[in-house]
Every structure is written in C-alpha cells, then in structure tokens.
C-alpha cells in the first residue's frame, strides 16, 4: 500500500510480535492446506475418468497405454486417501504437475507469468491509491459540490466492468488519438492502458472508504484538539485525518488483491499481456486442470501474504491494535 504509514511511535513494539507471527504462520499454512484439499477434491468432481482429465479431457484421444501410464504416475489406482497423501507430498515438493495444454511443468508456467501480473497489480494499486487519495481529499475539503461529484464518480467507477472500460480506453487512446498502443508492448508505454483499466474501478471503492473515514476523522476530538493547538487545516488533514483514513483502506487490501487478480484475467486477455490472469483464462477455456489448480494455489498464497502484510501494517498504523 502506498499510503504514508511510516514515522510512527515505536514504543512497546517488540513485545507482542512473536505470538502474532506464530499465529499468522499457522493460519497461512492451514489455509494453504485447505485450498489444496478443496482443489484435490474439486478435480475428483469432474465427470469421467480422472486419468483422462489428467491427460486433457474427453478430447485428448488418449490411448489405453497412456491412460494406464497416467494412472500409475498419479497413483490413480490407489485408494483415494493414499492418492490424497501422494498429492500433498507432491505439493510440498513444489511439484504442481504438468499442464496438459502447454505440455510443460505448471510451476514453470506460473513462474514465467507471475512477474507480469505482479508488476501490473502493484502499479495499478499505487495508481488507484493516488486517485482515491486525490478524490477523497478533494471531497473532504471541497464542500458539497465536490462531495457530490466524487460520489457519482465513485458509483460509476465501481460499476464499470473491466472489459467495457478496457475497450473504451482502447477506442479513445489508441484507435482515435493514437497515443498509446492497444496491446501491451514491452516498456512503460504498454503498461498505461492496462493499469488504468485496473486502477479506475478500484479507486472508486477506495475513495469511498477513505472519504467516509476522513469525514469521520475531521469531526473527531483529536482533530479538534490539533486545531486547538493551532495546526492549519492542511497539516491536520495530512498528519491526522489521512492516517485515520488509511486504516480501513489497508483493511481493504485483501479484497483489492482479489479484485486486481480478477481484473487481470480480463485485462491481460484484452491487452494480450502475458501474465497469470491470461494463463488462467486459457487454462479454464481448455479445461487444463493442473494449470488452473497451480494458478489458484499461487493466488491463494499471494492472498494470504497480502492479508498478513495488511495485518502487520494495521498494527503499525494503529497502536491500539498492539495492546490487544
């Protein structure tokens, strides 16, 4: 999160971190195990022969020999419980199987595509936070008109589907004005439209949350006290209200992560940008189960890391939480 969270009092920080970290680590491990388990049983729900599913579904035209081989490789002839243990064992070794559409190890495909999506998501998050901050600051300080305008902008931004926004941006900035490439090209120029597509809807949500807490904060006793001490309105806003607004916004980070990943599926497809989202969609379209599961697991891991980080940031920003 690109919000000003530094420069905080550090008193009593050390003491309660250890149990917190232990608890979080346990939580992450539990969720990952559960996600892997859900994923394992989800594949078993696919109608038909699981060996066939492993090899590419009913259209794989797999030979009897190949099916037998797949059964042996994946232990499909073993009891379900044994299969499950084997599966968990492979997971622990980082073996996510082989994508049958790409005929390559899932872990390699995910590794290649992770970077692109991360760059896209992080830049979009920063841009969204900046837009949201500007909107929130304006409507918190600019009176009724500004508040109404930003309210409408928030509603529209939150309601615009990613694909529709992407198409409109391409029409405007590529086809008509010719300023930006309509497909993702290497370099920062190719990042502009995909980032805007992801950032605009997100900023609508963030701005709404931030505006409400800024308004709360501006009317709260500590702001009044600061005013009484003689701080100017700008100083009060940046030093006090903003930090107050950061807390709920940081709380949204887990959700924002999900929104960015969902958006990345659409955005990477439309802008032909390599990344996890595009891999995931083509895997879903081709029912490439191992690759879908691989991406799902990696995203789940990412989600857990983000929520852990936000929890961490929360405790940094809000000293009250540390006391608990």
């Amino acid at each position: 999160m690109a919000l000003p969270v530094a420069a905080l009092p550090g008193a009593g920080r050390r003491r309660r971190w250890a149990p917190w970290a232990l608890l979080r680590a346990g939580g992450v491990a539990f969720v990952l195990w559960a996600v892997a388990t859900v994923a394992f049983f989800a594949i078993r729900l696919i109608p038909g022969d699981p060996a066939e599913a492993v090899l590419g579904g009913p259209g794989s035209q797999a030979s009897a020999a190949a099916l037998a081989q797949a059964r042996a490789d994946y232990g499909l002839d073993q009891p379900l419980f044994v299969q499950y243990l084997l599966y968990l064992g492979r997971m622990l070794r980082g073996d996510l199987g082989t994508s049958y559409a790409l005929k390559r190890p899932v872990i390699a495909v995910v590794g290649e595509n992770l970077g692109g999506t991360l760059v896209l998501a992080v830049v979009a998050l920063i841009v969204a936070a900046m837009i949201a901050l500007a909107l929130a600051a304006w409507s918190a300080q600019g009176g009724r008109a500004a508040s109404a305008v930003s309210w409408v902008l928030e509603v529209v931004a939150a309601a615009v589907p990613h694909f529709w926004l992407a198409i409109s941006l391409i029409l405007l900035f590529s086809t008509t004005l010719g300023w930006l490439p309509p497909v993702s090209v290497p370099g920062p120029l190719g990042l502009v439209l995909p980032v805007l597509t992801l950032a605009l809807p997100l900023s609508g949500f963030l701005a709404q949350v931030m505006r409400e807490s800024i308004l709360d904060a501006m009317g709260s006793p500590f702001v009044l006290a600061a005013r009484a001490r003689g701080e100017g309105p700008g100083g009060v806003f940046w030093r006090h209200a903003l930090r107050h607004a950061a807390i709920p916004a940081i709380g949204l980070a887990g959700w924002a992560f999900g929104s960015l990943i969902s958006g990345a599926v659409v955005v990477e497809t439309i802008f032909a940008r390599p990344g996890l989202g595009r891999s995931l969609l083509s895997a879903v379209q081709q029912r490439d189960v191992p690759l879908v599961l691989g991406v799902v697991l990696v995203v789940a891991l990412g989600y857990m890391l983000v929520t852990t980080l936000t929890d961490f940031a929360d405790r940094l920003v809000d000293p009250r939480l540390r006391a608990r």
Binding site: V31, A159, P161, F163, W164, R287, V296
Partner: protein
Amino acid sequence: MRRILPWIGVGALLFLLLAALAPGLLAPADPLAIHPAQSFRAPSVGHLFGTDESGRDIYTRIIHGAGASLLIGVSATAIGVGLALVFGLLAGLGPRWLDFGTTRFLEVLFAFPGLLLALLFIVVYGPGVVTSTIAVGLATAPGYARIIRSRVLVVRRAPYLESATVLGRGWWFLLWQHVLPNVAGSLFVLVTLGIGQSIVWASSLSYLGLGAVPPAAEWGAMLSAGRTYLASSWWMTFFPGLFILISAVATTLVGRGLQERSRRP
C-alpha cells in the same frame, strides 16, 4: 442531488424490470429473427441501436435480453446471499466451535479471491449460463457471509435479546422475531448492491466466453459477439455495455441510498 440520485436509480430499475417482464411491450419484434440483408446497420430511426451481424435489431435484443441478464444477476445474488445467510447465522448464533469452524471455512474461501472461485467452479462443471450463475453466487457468498455474521453478533449481544433469552423464548422464536428482522435491513442493501455487481461479473464471464452463448440475447454474450466487429460496428459493443453499466449504476445508486437512509437517525 444525493436525495434525487437513488430515485433515478429506482426509475431505471423499474424500466429494466418492465423490459424483463414484458419485453413485447417495449420491443414487439422477434429478438432472434435474422435479416441478412440488413446486417451491420448503424443506429438510425428504424433501428435505434443499429443491427448486428445477422441483421437482428440490437434494441430489440437488449430489451429481450434484460430478462436473462437480470435473472442471472438476481439468481447469482440469491445464491450468494442464501449461502451467506446460512453461514452467517451458523457462525453468529451457533456455539463457539461452530463459529470457529465456519469462520475458518470462510477464510479458506476468501483465499480464492474474486473470479477465482467462479473459474474453478467452471473448470469442474463446464461453461454455460447455469454454471456461470452458480459460480458468481458462490464467489460472492464469503463476502456477504462475513458481513451477516458481524451483524448477527451485534444483534446477539444486544440487551433486548438477552432479556428475551432470559424470558425462555425458543431459538426459532429469537431467530424470527429478533435476529432476522435486524439483519434484514443490511441484507436488503447488500442484495441491491449485489445484483448490479453480479450482473457485471456474469457478463464478464459471458464476455470471456464462459457464460451465455450466442444467439441468446444476453448482454454479456452480445457484447462478446460485437467485440469482433469493434473496428467497424461500435454500436454492437456499445449498447449492450451501456445497459450493463446502467443496471449496475442503478442498483448501486439505490443500494447506497438505502445505506445512507439506514444510517440516518
């Protein structure tokens, strides 16, 4: 301004509802009838929103598609909120261990953010209208469940509920008389906000080729088909997208209006 906006939302929703229930009133023609000779016509008086690649009138198709698109949105929300209600009530009213278990389960579901749970569901059950609707419902359920649980916990700890418990009222009585009515308000807001979001999600799935398929007059599917002709026939993409946007904005306006009203003392 902010008093009027929700009413504009209500107006737009009523119009969409009319289109969904009696499309023949607003657009008497057959949405599936083809006229190859009149394909790719730009918007004009005869064809308000133009025609598509098979000469079908886009206005007619959008009006007739309102039913399908709204139904998908409403069903997905119903599935999501229904599941969430079960989880939320179990967690909020049940014994501690049940709350613990349900909350952990929800945490696991949260680790499949956004479209991910929907896509996983589609991989297992294959694409289509029904699966994509259920998928969207499933994907939205954890978020609703968390909100409902916290509402239920607030109600449960309220003094009047304690007194009702002391009076020896039964569990079901408490649920019907106290918990549900108190949760209903925020539930209504959630549902209103959720329908718009579900329509957007479901149309995204259709756009990605995983939901409704042509020649069905569903907005996402129309948009997806029109995308191919974006360079020459922008109206095929523009108008279905506009209606998705309108329905999402309208439900959001109404939902936010309700939210603010419930906050006012």
